[in-house]
Symmetry: C4
Subunit: 340 residues, 4 copies
């Protein structure tokens, strides 16, 4: 089967990945209610196309925190790409760059940020976990992100512990060492539960813009702004942390209304179609991030797979924009959608 | 199996058609959310029958843009009938006429408009696509529609590009040449993204009434009126263009309210039962169009199949009218329905 | 399998009945949306039990138009019981009487009203169809109902024609002659579409109270009152006439509110559990009627089956009343239910 | 399969239990609408986590009527544990105590309250049924509860009769004698339908706090308070009495609002995940009770199974609290949830 959409890549990836890797990547927390809700919520949004606007093509280019990207679809930070491809995150970064977008490199990458940066053909952001009892490591990771030219620091705030995923727990995964952590065994590391004060500390540590990932409530979004966040990611961690939380796309509108343009707002969780991207942007997101889709591409065809997945989404987005009657990202607004 | 409803024809057509033709006709865009929504929305409408009105039969005759038809069910423009029947649109036109209704002949017909008109036993309207870089062809198609006696020009406005249909993309179809296009290879032609100014241009080109097909929003309906449309078709192109748009029957009420009787409003998308027709008319449509049902009839039994499908729908409509307590199309109004 | 609820009887009846009889009895009109809705609507009603009321048993006795019955569950008029049991309606009437309730004998009974009355062990009402071109027959049927001691005349008003049932149409049924019609072949008879004036005519014809069956709208209920109806049956004919109409239990509350106690209101359609009866009574019905459940009982075990089905429902109703904290029919009111 | 959640225990228990015991424990009343609703309602509640609160662990300890427990999850009274384990309730009590919570011992226990108390490693409450014609037995049961140190009396008020469970009725269960009832054959005993006056009588009989179990309506909750209840359990008896009543979690908010803190309110019905416990507490419950989950644990591994089931739930609750940003039971409030 020649894959023609993200679901095809998912099906192929299930065949190619070791069972433990498949279970780890695909599973959600608890009863996977939020995992399913992420998709179901997109289906409840209706698109309202305008006719006779004269567009036969659309420009999907935009910027995120000032960095130009060819499409408003970034690669989300996900762990352990070595389970999907021998070249691991180096391939992912190459695929993302070739698709003219940026990748958020995860702390728990199989390859080090230095290796990823060397392989990358596009811009990088660096995701950060702070490990309990290892603050110096966090500082070092920030410095290495700066040194390798990462343009933003993405702090994941919805993981004061690693959420349980029953489906994954039943199938052991052959988890590769995380190169960024050096001699430390990441299976023995636990996350540091962070506070708002820690955000200030990080803010003081670096000039890189700070992106706070894992926000679902308007008050927390405001508070992130007050503590110097340059952007936030509305996210439920792909349904992998607390089961039962809202779909991220459900949580988006109230946050957009509350931040009222004072920072950029991104979204991840359940994006599988170009029309999903159009819906998220119409509801106010600056861009979306895709985690599992990039992993499916990586598992199926390495860098080329990542690139193809992103191109499929970009092409679907462009088609959706044309059919909705808009010619550029700037023309996308709330009039294009309603909840059914 | 003797087919006794439209679903029977659908099942038989799936057996008779080549896989590529079946996939082309039956598929919808994206995840086929809108394709399913077109049906599901009809099921959410409740009929409210009046008792003891004394009708044992009902007259289903009406007029569309002044042309009398025996039933408020027209044949929608669909491409490439040659994949369903050797006689192609000539058979469809004969079947439609024998069922005492009119057919909208598609630009991308297998047979030319002249051949169709020669075979037709009822009135025709002519659907128009404008191809990029081929304005003279569009003018010529308009002239030929006039010359063959077509009574209206139906401009499709929801196709600035051909929407992707994944299910169809996986199965190659043996697409026959489109006779109307002469030597041009229609697989190389792309649609011209049209503007409101193009509507004026078309309006100026011909005295045929102009029907704008593919409207989903009240503002666009109003604007079509302002640009001289004689009628509009509330349509999502059978769920084949932008996935995620509203069901056409969901989009109808706001448009009816907005145009407030200043033009006729038709509807297509998901009509499979006489009760669907009754619901659409109760919500304000002057008539409905059926695309796939006519194709299923054509694939199963040529002109006789088209005729039988239309007669089944007409009979079901008459039965529904009698059971709802109305004796004529004019008696159908909004009091007969409510949304559940 | 020893049947312990109505569904068991349904499953057994499917095994015992000829395919055509099963299809005829079980099918609904169109896509069977209303058939399913009748059941689904009951599930949307929540029961709100009162605690510590001290009842360990409940009295299910009530009266309908002054006739005492041991349970508020009557046998609805259904045609052609001869397909289910050699003794046909004579067995049904005996079973109903032994369960201490009344039966509504259908015009299209396999046995004549005289035979049914002779066999009956409980009170009878007589259902009436008026056939086109056969007004004298209608008058005669009314006279025979009076002569056989029927206590009410039930006029079916939702059948100006026999609704199509596709599932039934595919399987020929061995339809027995309708004894009430004498030499007339009922397959050649069509119903007379009735008017409100015909109600007056019937009203003038007999002193029996007139029950109007097939009302779904409050205005029609009021008008039935104005024309002398002693009671109405909120009914959609078991989902067998116009597909898409509301569930009868959905239609009940507005009618109850409108008639405001000026006549008794019954309900049929989808009653399969004692809790359904409790819900209908809490929403204002005086009693319910069951059609198919009685037929399943008849098909499985003749009069004893009819009796057992009714006893199962009565026992379930009593249990539901006790658990809801009410000891008699008179204590059932709207505080026991809410819509979810 | 190593069980890692309550559903695993359920699946294993189905394999280990005799068919009649499985059917008895797992079934619900009627069509099991309420049984399913108990679960579905939890899925409609969304959790709204707070970020960056700094908790990496949470304290699940609380008190119920002054008794400290390590988790807000009690063992509900359920009958006949001898069908699940030879040690019966003695094992259950040991498992509950080892998990640092309390058990409500049922009147219809296989083992006597004296045996259970002797085996127990944690606090006990005693559930009471009053049998018709056996008031002295009820008094004696109260005295024995006092004598064995039970800290509260739990009066079940939703069982004026034993509700029918069709699934269970089809499979005979090998029901063990209920030791508390001495020579009496409990298959011949029926419940005494109680009144509010009986509550006063019980209240006057003992100094143990009285917990009224089986309340679904705010008015009844208030009245229980007026009659001296120290606490109430919002419960529908696990969907086993009157089918069609609300999910207990649906019924909770109005009751919490009405009692306004004047007594403790517990909840049972459908709790299968730590997130369910968090939702119930956020909606105002002081604690939840689990019935079937404890039985599955008992059937699979005796006391150790009961303990493990409770520990799994406690661990899930702690994880949910951390991910929701709360560090103790006292911090849980209504801001953590909303209905979707």
């Amino acid at each position: 089967m020649e894959p023609i959409n993200v679901y095809d890549y998912e099906a192929l990836a299930e065949q190619r990945l070791a069972p433990g890797a498949w279970a780890f990547y695909s599973s959600g927390a608890g009863d996977e209610v939020t995992l399913r809700r992420n998709r179901a919520a997109f289906e409840r949004i209706q698109l309202l196309p305008r006719i006779l606007t004269g567009y036969g093509a659309a420009d999907t280019a935009t910027t995120v925190l000032g960095t130009p990207v060819g499409l408003p679809i970034l690669v989300a930070p996900t762990a352990a790409h070595g389970m999907a491809c021998a070249e691991a995150e180096c391939a992912t970064a190459r695929g993302a760059g070739e698709a003219s977008t940026l990748m958020v490199a995860a702390t728990e990458s199989t390859r080090s940020i230095e290796e990823i940066a060397a392989a990358a053909t596009g811009p990088l952001w660096s995701q950060l976990y702070v490990y309990r009892g290892h603050r110096p490591l966090a500082e070092s990771l920030v410095r290495r992100a700066e040194a390798t030219g990462c343009r933003a620091l993405v702090l994941t705030v919805d993981a004061p512990l690693w959420g349980s995923k029953d489906r994954s727990a039943r199938v052991p995964a052959d988890w590769p060492p995380a190169a960024n952590l050096g001699e430390l065994d990441d299976s023995e590391l636990g996350p540091e539960p962070l506070t708002w004060a820690d955000l200030d500390w990080l803010r003081s540590l670096t000039a890189m813009p700070l992106v706070v990932k894992g926000v679902l409530l308007p008050d927390d979004a405001l508070r992130a702004l007050d503590h110097g966040a340059a952007a936030i990611v509305v996210s439920n961690h792909g349904g992998r942390q607390l089961d039962g939380v809202p779909a991220s796309i459900e949580a988006l509108p109230a946050i957009i209304e509350t931040v009222a343009g004072r920072c950029q707002v991104y979204l991840d969780g359940g994006v599988r179609r170009g029309t999903d991207v159009l819906k998220a942007l119409a509801l106010g997101a600056r861009a979306v991030l895709v985690g599992r889709p990039a992993l499916w591409g990586l598992a199926v065809d390495g860098a080329a797979g990542v690139r193809h997945v992103l191109e499929l989404l970009r092409n679907e987005l462009e088609e959706a924009m044309v059919l909705a009657g808009v010619g550029s990202i700037a023309e996308i607004d709330g009039s294009l959608v309603r909840w059914s």
